[in-house]
Symmetry: D3
Subunit: 142 residues, 6 copies
Amino acid sequence: MVDVTDKPITKRTARATATLITRPDVIALLVAGNLPKGEALATARIAGIMGAKQTSALIPLCHPLPLSGATVDFDTRDDRVIIETSVKTTGVTGVEMEALTAASIAALTLYDMIKAVDKHAQITDLRVLAKTGGKSGDWVHE
Amino acid sequence: MVDVTDKPITKRTARATATLITRPDVIALLVAGNLPKGEALATARIAGIMGAKQTSALIPLCHPLPLSGATVDFDTRDDRVIIETSVKTTGVTGVEMEALTAASIAALTLYDMIKAVDKHAQITDLRVLAKTGGKSGDWVHE
Amino acid sequence: MVDVTDKPITKRTARATATLITRPDVIALLVAGNLPKGEALATARIAGIMGAKQTSALIPLCHPLPLSGATVDFDTRDDRVIIETSVKTTGVTGVEMEALTAASIAALTLYDMIKAVDKHAQITDLRVLAKTGGKSGDWVHE
Amino acid sequence: MVDVTDKPITKRTARATATLITRPDVIALLVAGNLPKGEALATARIAGIMGAKQTSALIPLCHPLPLSGATVDFDTRDDRVIIETSVKTTGVTGVEMEALTAASIAALTLYDMIKAVDKHAQITDLRVLAKTGGKSGDWVHE
Amino acid sequence: MVDVTDKPITKRTARATATLITRPDVIALLVAGNLPKGEALATARIAGIMGAKQTSALIPLCHPLPLSGATVDFDTRDDRVIIETSVKTTGVTGVEMEALTAASIAALTLYDMIKAVDKHAQITDLRVLAKTGGKSGDWVHE
Amino acid sequence: MVDVTDKPITKRTARATATLITRPDVIALLVAGNLPKGEALATARIAGIMGAKQTSALIPLCHPLPLSGATVDFDTRDDRVIIETSVKTTGVTGVEMEALTAASIAALTLYDMIKAVDKHAQITDLRVLAKTGGKSGDWVHE
């Protein structure tokens, strides 16, 4: 695990996204709350937030960070759900991995909620959208 | 968590995949073992296998299953790494989520290993390839 | 950890309960979905189910068991929320501790969701309601 | 998870309590160290302290905090054990949830230690006793 | 993780040992219960048992196993503590790693309890004593 | 868990070691990458680093610390592997337990990788080599 002892403690944020691609009839079930396993979006939100807090236990070389905020939001489209996450910390390294892990676990949870009705769903476009804080400066994914 | 008490215990397998898209020069560093954080593929393999074992702790409605095998393999292409995972159990529910979680954590770990040299990498095409065992029968993703 | 190697594997269930006591105006906020931290019951349900799966990691002498089902339900009354949990396994020991842990974590999560508006809430009446399976036979708490 | 990035870092403490109600003959076994599963109070103390450290992994919207102290004490009465916990941190949010989680896990561990001799035990009066530090000021439960 | 899907389920046991070497005056404090951090042996016993249950989460290629029993015992000598652990399962692979992990975590916990008075303690002779069950047959370390 | 609220936050490091004793032919297989379970040293390195991050969850009275660096290195000798770990933090307590836990988990992982070819391996000489930072001052094990 890279030595970050001498890096300054700054406020840092990262936003990430992931997309679950399924079928329109599955989205209809999801929006209506009629999936066999229940409330898909609320469950995926909680799983994503809890997943963010497990990042340093899951990703071998990630430093543990005291997360000061984490959100998971959903944009439900015709045949897909777009997940967007935001994570904040005051620490020595960035929180891109935490934002990506939140998006990934939220997407996997949605997959789990719909897999009884769509076993061909897939998760795509998992990437960092933007970050602020730290030596490398702020940036936004174009 | 859906009641699976009365489902029969059978041998079950699942295979899943994910793809990390980066740049050819990053793939060259990765293959040569010259990434700043070290041995990327070995680290991602271990992370993926350990991630598979944490599936029921990460995905809220997943049943805990006694995994009897898990593998994570990599196919390094020009500008990407294709991850393929395989998970086995003898249990009452399938292991698609475990195979997907292994692929997802392995992909996130690769992202973490290369993010110092490519902050625009993305993970795509995370899906189940095939499963065997269980009531719904065997299938292969076409 | 007591040796249960030679106990027979049977289907086992347990039901437990806990009660969170607060104020009527807090219950009104909770039912209307107007608590500052969001969807209290959905969050507590997920936390309770995930907590059930962590029982053997939390309670030192609890045996790990392959849970085959877990539910957490809520009965919202004037000044309180009554939580009822149900856990199932096919294993060598009972699942009372899992049902109690689910009820306890669900109740703590509700407390966390309302503590900004009621710091005097309390959790009471955490107990096993009924169990089936195992040598000691079925029983229901009177 | 609520954004606490801009809250000041201060010393914070919280004390919580829980009560396990059982029978006098069970308390006699517990005090004499004659319970079938062994040293109940020492086991519950350790479980409570370890549980406090898992709070942010168990309660979905709890922020991870660097705990700087945690104690679990017991007051053994005629037919009950009163548990009192104390947790400290230097951080941006309070430690009420950590103190409550410690009390809850300690109480569940005691229940587990005595359940072979008393399946009708119950846990009651789980609440915060006092807190110091933070914007909302110090308070003591009356 | 090696594929053990087709291995037969049998009763399996393993015993392991570890030794913590310190000074006679430290052993005197430990036996008298006068160490600054409190009850060393009870704490180490619980930590060892809980550690056994975390083996498959800690050792990357270990299969998860439903432990049916685990004990940690101590033999206090003039200048050392000899730890002996025993673990049982009914499963497809042996429990040597679980017995070793229990011994290791118990020894580390003892080290943690005494390190304020002896920073030169060391842990030695961590090994498997005996195993039963499985294809390779029973054996005892000579 | 001892109250360290008022201890100053300083940079702290610790180095620890452990030795796995096996046979020369096993070391030959390990160095050649011909062990049945695969890449032993890379797997043990990752396991050790991940283990360091779990220290406060494994050792009951250890405070959680934000690790800012962790390394695990190996020196392969004729009939043994010498493991050396280094852990850093900026915090209120030392990281000896984290360095020892990393060494211990790395050694156990090596044992797991070779146990199919050497069931008589043992782990010895697990101890702290040096520490810096904190009230008790720097020291090196002679």
